[in-house]
């Protein structure tokens, strides 16, 4: 099992949710986060004075998948989340030791 952690643009969430559902992964964890990568922050303005906003709002999607599905899912997410502009985000992939479905006690791939 692999965990895919994708930090993406806020406006891409809906499209990604639909795509993951199509690949057979209707479940996911979504967190509203703030952060910045290499692009740093933005300049905003309040009553005539500009100020830097260091952290931008992003969406973090976490999803645990079968080893065999990992590659094609990462490819799909990359395809959807990419605009080609600075600020598209990043994907991190981790190995997962096991999964337990709390309701039944099931373990492994079947519990995903």
């Amino acid at each position: 099992m692999k965990k895919i952690e994708a930090v993406v643009r806020v406006e891409k969430l809906e499209e990604l949710t639909e795509a993951l559902d199509k690949f057979g992964y209707p479940g996911m964890m979504v967190t509203h986060i703030e952060g910045h990568g290499r692009q740093k922050g933005l300049t905003e303005q309040f009553r005539g004075r500009e100020y830097k906003v260091n952290f931008l709002p992003k969406i973090k999607i976490e999803i645990v998948v079968k080893d065999a599905d990992a590659d094609k899912l990462v490819k799909a997410i990359t395809g959807i989340a990419r605009t080609g502009e600075i600020g598209d985000g990043k994907i991190f992939i981790y190995p997962v030791e096991d999964t337990v479905r709390i309701r039944t006690g099931e373990k492994g791939d079947g519990a995903i």
Partner: protein
């Protein structure tokens, strides 16, 4: 502390009780009506306008909350409420008598304490209510300039100082038959609805408070360069500005103190035009500087225009209202940068909006007054300024009044805040300031079920 408050309330209650037993003039209003069957329209006009002015408290509360951070919103609501609470009680006890009582040597009024005796009269009560909502407005302006760092206790005491002393005594000089209204220049110093009496007073007491307090943590960086501290809701700030704009249609036209002065139509139009001109100039100026359409500054510009036109609104025509408002919009933009670059932290721009533009409003009477209207009446003396052949006379009266107003408000405000600071310290601790005043001072966050983050 509790015992002291109880004792104070007891004395207050006994005094009111005695007042009720005293001789009354026309408490039912029957006599007044019989003498003047036309009076109901005036009473209703003045009261409805007074209710609109009262509603400006809501406007100030929303503008200040919107321009400040969410962690201080409860504190701002508390301050904007307590100043009108204290204004009502204190102005009834002392302020009204000092302001509108029988004149003593042009300096203070000396009768009508506790609305007592002859003041138990519908006419006097009407005047009291009208002056009270103005006193409340003057008091509430300051809360913006001292926002996010002044202890509630200090604000509580400050409200008493403004409504018992600073506002009514200066008010007496201009509106209560005092020495400024009798200056031997022009028609005397004139201030139709209170650019000076209400706004300059509030603005410069606010400046005194901001100076004694010092800037908020984080307002200036290590090189003392100003930084923006964005407010938490432009939506609330805009709502507050609309409420104030609406309230001003009571503030200025109601200051004719009579519905029989049909000049109210001119006053209403001028009030609106100045607000519009101020907003337009402010947003355009900031656009030229930053290439962004800055809503916060537009809202300030709108209020600046309203403040400036408050003194001249009854004596000018439409084009002059636009000119006065336009200059006000420029003054507020320059003012906000000016104070910030000098290390003064005024979180909502109250000093520039009310202080500087209050002064401009007073001066503008001496320039633009067109000689078609008198001192709240259609008969002489008419108020005539420089551009309409009145010479410098009225302008001199206005300049003297403005100088007196600024000095009086700033000096007493500064002494008041300094004294309080010496006795108990008027600024919250750095920890409380960083946390926001809502929980340490009041125990109540403004938005308990929302995720709010502080910077």
């Amino acid at each position: 502390m509790f015992r002291k408050i109880t004792a104070f309330l007891a004395i207050f209650a006994v005094t009111i009780g005695m007042a009720c037993l005293a001789f009354a003039q026309d408490p039912s209003g029957a006599e007044t009506l019989a003498k003047n069957p036309n009076s109901p329209v005036d009473y209703v006009w003045i009261l409805v306008c007074g209710f609109l002015v009262f509603f400006m408290q809501a406007g100030f509360a929303m503008v200040e909350a919107g321009f400040c951070r969410a962690k201080n919103a409860t504190n701002l609501m508390a301050k904007n409420t307590i100043d009108f609470v204290m204004a009502s009680l204190i102005f009834m006890a002392f302020g009204f008598a000092l302001m509108m009582g029988n004149d003593y040597r042009g300096l203070i009024g000396t009768s009508g304490w506790f609305l007592h005796g002859e003041n138990y009269d519908v006419g006097r009560y009407l005047m009291f209510f009208w002056q009270l909502v103005f006193a409340g407005t003057a008091a509430t302006i300051v809360s913006g300039a001292v926002a996010e760092r002044l202890k509630f206790k200090a604000y509580f005491l400050y409200s008493i100082l403004v409504t018992a002393v600073i506002y009514p005594i200066y008010g007496h000089w201009v509106w209560g038959g005092g020495w400024l209204s009798k200056l031997p220049f022009g028609a005397g110093h004139v201030d139709f609805a209170g650019s000076g009496v209400v706004h300059t007073i509030g603005g410069f007491v606010g400046l005194a408070g901001a100076l004694v307090l010092g800037p908020r943590f984080g307002k200036f960086d290590k090189d003392r360069k100003p930084r923006a501290i964005p407010g938490h809701s432009i939506t609330l700030a805009a709502l507050g500005t609309f409420i104030l704009w609406f309230g001003w249609f009571g503030f200025n036209p109601g200051s004719t103190f009579s519905a029989h002065q049909l000049r109210i139509a001119v006053v209403a139009v001028n009030t609106n035009l100045a607000a519009a001109a101020g907003a337009a100039v402010a947003i355009l100026l900031v656009y030229l500087k930053t290439k962004k359409w800055d809503v916060g500054m537009m809202l300030n510009g709108c209020l600046a225009g309203l403040v400036a036109v408050t003194a001249p609104c009854a004596w000018i025509e439409a084009w002059a209202a636009v000119a006065i408002g336009a200059v006000a919009g420029a003054i507020v933009v320059v003012g906000v940068y000016f104070w910030e670059n000098r290390g003064v932290d005024d979180p909502v721009g109250a000093v520039s909006v009310h202080g500087l533009n209050g002064v401009w409003g007073l001066i503008s009477v001496g320039i633009f007054a067109d000689g078609t209207y008198g001192l709240g009446s259609t008969s002489e003396p008419f108020v005539k300024g420089l551009l309409y052949g009145g010479g410098y006379s009225q302008l001199i009266a206005q300049l003297i009044g403005a100088a007196v107003c600024v000095s009086w408000a700033f000096a007493l405000g500064f002494i008041g805040f300094k004294l309080m600071d010496k006795f108990f310290g008027i600024r919250v601790s750095p920890q409380e300031e960083l946390k926001g005043l809502d929980i340490p001072e009041h125990g109540t966050p403004a938005y308990p079920n929302f995720y709010t983050y502080s910077n």
